[in-house]
């Protein structure tokens, strides 16, 4: 039995129903534990004070914001090449989660930036890239909503996702040329991650794993919803 078997909607529904409970429990336990550990049990950083606690939300969210788009890219390619319906629907399911993650990353970054940089928002390359990612997400979802026929919508959003990925990547590098000299030394927590010692690193790791699992849980639930609504449409169309 190959992996592609699970692209069959009924099989996918059966499999996902089996693993969902474990995934949901694992993700909520890990995320809550990680956040509790990070929030209550870590000391304040000597330089950043207690704002360092924000990285337990900021870093996992930022990672998932990008990974959600990567997942959409892969599933879009699978849909265009192998035409597995579940794949296209999983891409659609991931987009709102990606948007939420991007918003969390931007919001926590801005809130952290206020005491650290003295401003909520600066056109720093990394912040700007996330803003650009956000508009790509909006465009992608808007296209899904605008097209009536679901398979056509899947085709068009898939190709948009692929082309969009290329241009998002281009923007990521173009941004470096564009804002050089504007905002020096605006390195975010990711760079510091290498310096943080285990007191911060371990809870951060737990939070990241928790966030990944939460993402998977939500993607599965949302994909199941999408599959159900497709079946609903199919049943109604058959008029029986």
């Amino acid at each position: 039995m190959s992996l592609w078997e699970y692209a069959n909607p009924a099989k996918f529904m059966a499999l996902s129903a089996r693993i969902l409970p474990y995934l949901a429990i694992a993700s909520s336990c890990l995320l809550l534990a990680g956040l509790f550990w990070g929030f209550f049990l870590t000391p304040a950083d000597y330089k950043q004070g207690s704002t360092v606690k924000i990285i337990f939300l900021h870093v996992p969210a930022a990672l998932m914001a990008i990974n959600a788009w990567l997942m959409m890219l892969v599933t879009s390619l699978v849909w265009l090449i192998r035409r597995h319906h579940v794949s296209a629907l999983a891409a659609k399911a991931a987009a709102p989660i990606g948007i939420t993650m991007t918003l969390i990353a931007i919001a926590t970054g801005a809130i952290w930036g206020k005491p650290m940089w003295g401003t909520y928002w600066a056109w720093d390359p990394r912040l700007t890239s996330f803003m650009i990612l956000l508009v790509f997400y909006f465009g992608y979802l808007a296209l899904w909503e605008a097209i009536e026929d679901k398979d056509t919508a899947a085709d068009l959003t898939s190709i948009l996702c692929i082309v969009g990925s290329i241009f998002a990547l281009l923007s990521r590098y173009a941004v470096n040329f564009w804002s050089q000299g504007l905002h020096q030394g605006a390195s975010l927590s990711l760079d510091k991650e290498q310096h943080v010692d285990n007191t911060f690193y371990l809870p951060l790791l737990v939070c990241i794993v928790g966030m990944v699992l939460l993402f998977l849980t939500l993607v599965l639930i949302r994909t199941r919803t999408e599959i159900r609504s497709r079946r609903l449409i199919a049943l109604r169309l058959r008029g029986i």
Partner: protein, 51 residues
């Protein structure tokens, strides 16, 4: 070991905003899931009756 220094507001604000956003996402996901499941079950019922 728990302490929040002069940045209490900042940290709490960041956590509140994130939890609200995550909560909204989870709530939206679950409520839509329930709604569609109910609609599909009703439709399947109708289909079975007609058969």
């Amino acid at each position: 070991m728990f302490e929040l220094d002069k940045y209490t507001d900042t940290v709490l604000l960041a956590y509140t905003v994130s939890i609200i956003l995550l909560g909204t996402l989870i709530w939206a996901t679950l409520s839509k899931s329930k709604r569609i499941k109910r609609a599909l079950d009703a439709q399947e019922q109708k289909t079975d009756d007609k058969r």
